[in-house]
């Protein structure tokens, strides 16, 4: 019996094109191809790398003049920065976990529970992805804000001066808004992965005696892991850098790194300090992204 595996299936729908790495190296590269590469590289350098370099440069130039690490030591020593760093990290982590759990459950229902309109819901998620993030926050304000619908109904009914829903200006409000807005970013890759899943596997599991929870845990979840990792890391990085949602909830006590950059640069005119925070923010994002690449490559995704 021949031992060649003829039926390798792409788990979860993610694969790297196998022929991709063969192209370079063998064919001699002509100057023509280099010429083609020039415009995008130049544009990238001019519009992306140069401003980034300016930010890094500025972060080493305190207002007192010269080049030193003074802005860094100042910022790192401040309570505001440490607090913002902690708030940013835990909010991003909690939002990511929330998005993964909620996104996985919703995607499961849309993909595997046949109900009329599942296709329409799936399509709406694509549209949702194109919405600006502050729109969601705005709609939450309309519902749960201090003068929003929920509180309005409460004050009308009870005659009280203020309603019970005051969480929107707390970190929990930001968390709710971020989970609401970013969950579709997890669902999109998940739905793609689920559509690749062989229903015969689910049927085989079922006839072997497994009920739905076991099938989800042992058959669906392992095959969805690459998609969860992809969606989760995307959401994590987006949450770390989220600005609009935090701004629009009007949560005064919630200062994340992007908010700190904004307040230092615009309100305090402390440009070196703002640049330091920005550099830290960029480093965290890039660091997490590299970590994700290493982990996902090791997982064979």
């Amino acid at each position: 019996m021949a031992d060649t595996a003829r039926n390798t299936r792409v788990v979860g729908g993610w694969s790297r094109p196998s022929g991709g790495s063969h192209r370079s190296g063998t064919a001699p590269r002509s100057s023509g191809t280099l010429l083609w590469a020039l415009p995008p590289v130049a544009a990238l350098a001019l519009f992306f790398l140069y401003p980034l370099a300016l930010v890094v440069q500025q972060s080493f130039q305190p207002d007192s003049g010269g080049t030193s690490l003074q802005p860094y030591t100042d910022v790192f020593a401040s309570d505001a920065f440490r607090h913002a760093l902690w708030t940013t990290v835990w909010l991003a982590a909690a939002s990511t976990v929330g998005c993964l759990v909620l996104g996985f459950l919703l995607a499961l229902v849309i993909a595997f529970v046949p109900f009329p309109g599942a296709k329409a819901v799936s399509r709406f998620i694509d549209v949702f992805l194109s919405f600006p993030s502050f729109l969601i926050t705005l709609s939450l304000l309309f519902i749960y804000g201090s003068v929003g619908m929920a509180n309005g109904a409460w004050t009308d009914l009870t005659g009280a001066a203020s309603g019970p829903f005051q969480f929107l200006t707390t970190p929990w409000g930001v968390l709710l808004a971020e989970v609401t807005y970013f969950t579709p970013f997890v669902m999109r890759p998940l739905l793609a992965a689920f559509s690749q899943l062989d229903t015969a596997q689910l049927e085989a599991a079922s006839s072997l005696g497994a009920r739905a929870p076991r099938i989800v845990r042992q058959v669906i979840l392992p095959e969805a892991l690459p998609a969860l990792a992809a969606g989760g890391s995307l959401v994590l990085v987006l949450c770390l850098n989220e600005f609009g949602i935090v701004l629009f909830t009007g949560a005064k006590g919630v200062t994340t790194l992007p908010m700190l950059v904004y307040s230092k640069a615009i309100l305090e005119s402390d440009y070196p300090g703002a640049c330091v925070v920005a550099v830290v923010n960029v480093l965290i994002s890039v660091g997490l992204y590299s970590l994700y690449r290493v982990v996902s490559r090791r997982a064979g995704a």
Partner: protein, 348 residues
């Protein structure tokens, strides 16, 4: 444990895909559901597994009505064309899946996994992942996984269709051996391949257009098919329209001697002769026609001869000096090799 279909009808959106199936599979019997695609054979199997719900009728397993039971409570082993192994689990974990779902004790699980892998000849591959195995090996694992839960009923849905021809005959022998080793397990074997059905099945149920057309032992269906569809689908057949006379039938102006007992003289009927029972040259029951096609198949030649507007096939042991296209040749067949069927589509 036997399987009984009691007037089982399955429809999707009013479109009937299985029409009032009545069929009984005896305990320990291998029943092949044979038919072209869209004949309803897979639907029948899925109704036993519990993946489709009949709109009417009952499905019984060992006398117990399981029509309303979910798949996981039916205790059925199932093997499908594309193996459906869990890709992230090793071979032994795949085989243990059903036992774990049933909360079988660990020591017994280990023992039964080993036993099932032994039985399918896959013991050496227990620590591999499915992607490291060939198609035939993956299908053995799928069979081991289905057998590990010790089902009384094994459902096989085109299990060999994804394998190449050589592997297929090997696996067919393996399945026959498994059946001998597990004489109490009833098997429902869905296939469109008549060779698989003839080789493996105790009885064959021929399906077409959502209906059961015929049911019988392979020999009965092959030697004396009841209708044109069964005759041509099981084994292939020459079907020519004839008029029944007193001691034979007339076709293309020739009188052919065949057994006409039970058929009224003057009636229209279909004469069925297997291609390999047709001889070249002069003989009794002679048909004369023009050669329109010659296929060399190694051990045999297949001739297509047009006799009075009807194509007659003859499978002949490799000819030293085959006729050419357009030659007029005589064919013949023995009287007891022909069967008369009720007139059907071959009458146009």
């Amino acid at each position: 444990m036997g399987i009984r279909f009691d007037s089982v009808t399955v429809a999707y959106d009013g479109n009937v895909v299985l029409d009032s199936l009545d069929l009984t599979v005896e305990p320990g019997e291998v029943m092949a559901l044979l038919g072209p695609s869209g004949s309803g054979k897979t639907t029948a199997l899925r109704a036993v597994a519990g993946f489709v719900r009949p709109v009417s009728g009952r499905v019984l397993l060992g006398g117990r009505d399981v029509t309303d039971l979910p798949p996981y409570q039916r205790g059925i082993g199932m093997v499908v064309q594309q193996y459906a192994l869990f890709p992230h689990m090793r071979v032994d974990e795949n085989v243990a899946f059903g036992l774990k779902a049933r909360r079988t004790a660990k020591s017994e699980t280990r023992q039964r996994v080993a036993q099932a892998l032994e039985m399918t000849g896959m013991a050496a591959y227990a620590r591999r992942h499915p992607r490291e195995l060939s198609g035939g090996q993956q299908q053995r694992v799928a069979i081991a996984r289905a057998l590990a839960i010790r089902p009384d009923v094994l459902l096989l849905d085109e299990p060999l269709s994804a394998l190449d021809a050589q592997l297929r005959s090997g696996m067919l022998a393996e399945l026959a051996r498994l059946h001998r080793e597990l004489p109490d397990v009833s098997m429902l074997y869905v296939t469109h391949d008549q060779v698989e059905a003839l080789t493996l099945a105790d009885r064959i149920a021929v399906m077409d257009k959502a209906r059961l057309q015929a049911c019988g032992t392979p020999k009965e269906l092959y030697r004396s098919p009841a209708d044109e569809f069964t005759a041509s689908f099981v084994g292939g057949a020459n079907l020519v329209p004839v008029t029944v006379g007193r001691a034979g039938v007339s076709f293309a102006g020739a009188e052919l001697k065949v057994d006409t007992s039970g058929v009224l003289a003057g009636a229209r009927a279909t004469l069925c002769v297997r291609p390999h029972l047709v001889g070249l040259g002069e003989g009794p029951n002679r048909l004369v026609g023009t050669v329109t096609e010659i296929q060399w198949r190694g051990a045999t030649h297949r001739l297509y001869v047009e006799v009075d507007g009807h194509s007659v096939m003859a499978d002949l042991r490799e000819l030293k000096d085959p006729p050419s296209l357009g030659d007029v040749v005589a064919l013949h067949f023995a009287s007891d090799d022909a069967v008369l069927l009720p007139a059907g589509v071959s009458h146009g």
